[in-house]
Symmetry: C2
Subunit: 334 residues, 2 copies
């Protein structure tokens, strides 16, 4: 009898959900016209992405903070760059970043190519004085001369533009398909538990999917305000409003507290949460979002259902070989 009720609930849920646009994560990411994805670029980009020699000290790679082995980020509220320096924002996951309409929390890069250029010369991240210095260093490494020539078909191919194109091409392969949710959407209704199906229904009913929409649950693009509903207590507890978000870039008051909508894909394994990593657990993050964005006080039971569903967004991480970085001639670092 109990089983039957469960089944009926499941059927009712599937039926109500089937009317909505539930989309699986695409297994390939679109590339810009001037940077079609090729295996050679992906292979080169993978090397560059994991190479700490792209930092002034030789200790910080893209992968140090956006760790492909660890949910695509570093599990820290903020990241640690050269000389132990920390910034004010939490590293977003690189997995499925190809599906973001803009990059960085404040959306200051329009593409993965543009994003890749930033941290390398940021003085508290990778600390290179200029991309000319990066290019000069890469040119001393024979293996990179070969890999750039292969990827870009030119003996003089080591340039900033090509390096960032290669990194972006690699990042476009960092996709985590086949989550329980994707299997459910593809027709396997048993892929989500009844609790997860409840959670899915609730994030739609509450309005979470108003912004966290689409296959990557990161909206159709553009920015959203956070918080929508002021709350002195929570804003103080989590220092949420200290950072002006997009307005820090545009210096436009209308952009205050606007943020890129982050993907919910793999959210269960990418704590801590929010632009400043101030919230340590997914339960707390879900409750806070409901309160600050939708003015809802979520019950523990509703929170548990939603968290159960969010766990169904953890995808399959494709097998990659550990990169074998081309050798340095002598030593670059002091």
């Amino acid at each position: 009898m109990f089983k039957l009720r469960l089944l009926l609930t499941a059927l009712a849920l599937s039926s109500s959900l089937s009317a909505m646009a539930l989309e699986p994560l695409p297994t390939t990411a679109p590339a810009p016209a001037d940077n079609p994805t090729t295996p050679e670029k992906v292979e080169l980009g993978k090397l560059l992405y994991h190479d700490p020699r792209l930092s002034s000290s030789g200790t910080v790679a893209c992968a140090s903070c956006h760790n492909t082995s660890l949910g695509g980020e570093d599990n820290r509220p903020n990241s640690v760059g050269i000389n132990g320096q920390t910034g004010g924002r939490s590293a977003p996951t690189v997995w499925n970043a190809a599906f973001n309409a803009v990059q960085f929390w404040d959306g200051r890069a329009a593409s993965l190519e543009e994003q890749a250029a930033g941290p390398v010369t940021n003085p508290i991240e990778m600390g290179m004085k200029s991309w000319d210095d990066v290019v000069a260093r890469l040119k001393t490494i024979k293996g990179y001369q070969v890999a750039f020539a292969k990827a870009f078909g030119d003996d003089n191919a080591i340039t900033k533009a090509n390096a960032t194109k290669a990194i972006a091409a690699y990042e476009r392969t960092l996709i985590t398909p086949n989550s329980a949710y994707d299997k459910f959407v593809a027709g396997n209704k048993a892929a989500l538990t009844v609790q997860q199906q409840h959670g899915l229904e609730k994030i739609q009913a509450l309005g979470c999917t108003g912004c966290h929409s689409g296959p990557a649950f990161n909206g159709p693009g553009g920015f959203q305000k956070f918080p929508v509903f002021s709350n002195g207590y929570f804003e103080a507890q989590y220092h949420i409003s200290k950072d002006l978000g997009r307005a820090e870039v545009t210096k436009n008051d209308n952009d205050k507290h606007l943020w890129k909508v982050p993907t919910l894909r793999n959210v269960a394994i990418t704590a801590p949460y929010f632009h400043n990593g101030s919230v340590k657990t997914l339960d707390a993050a879900v409750k806070l979002m409901a309160k600050l964005q939708l003015n809802q006080d979520l019950s523990d039971a509703d929170t548990a259902d939603i968290v159960a569903f969010l766990n169904a967004l953890t995808g399959e991480f494709p097998h990659q070989t550990l990169p074998s970085l081309p050798a340095t001639p002598g030593s670059t670092f002091n």
Copy 2:
């Protein structure tokens, strides 16, 4: 005629070399009786080795300084631990470390297991307060509970002893066979160029292989004095004698300036050189060793031959999959 002379030279060299004990690198490493190598331990050890959550800040893994992608070390004179701190010694390569008779530059660990325990709680390296803290943290990560149980067949298997055993088991798989030298030793006389064969002959004639002996060119075990011949100029230039080596551990004057003989395997790709990483190029390192250990002033031509040979000791790095680290529940780091 020129070709004939080259051929005759090559034949003469092979003939003179064939009388000596040239040994290929073993493709497996011996394991201690209480830690037989198993696939489950190797897999777990690979995770732990690449996991920055074994450091207090979540930013430094074993692989940060002993980078499996980058010749097994970090190409720096000294390594960078938590909070940007640096030590006084250069990270030795992890590749083929299984063939060292002792571990650390000063040989203070008798085994890979013992070595693995050190950096994790070193305050300037990975900075954990104690292994109890490491164990407590690992126990919060469900994937580690599973992986330790698989490797050690016990539900309560997360211990310091098992963690270091697993790391050591993984490190025993980090072997780089099939260098040009190994192919030469196996009978393919064309695997070494004539210049490389000259280099091989010279390191034997000069006496380099007195200490750098055996298949890994790291001696039969024990320690050697460095420098053997005092030289105020070079000792000052490279700060070579400031660090007392083994005596820093034993506090015994007889151990002053005794060091573990490092492997020459992959030496061409693991600059900078010596315990303090003070020498940036292989040419300079070869000349300095000849001067300080053998009281020989090497000509540029002899140096070039030896460097050519040392390049033949770069092996094949086996393909490994990029580790997929088990997810953190919530966030551990502040």
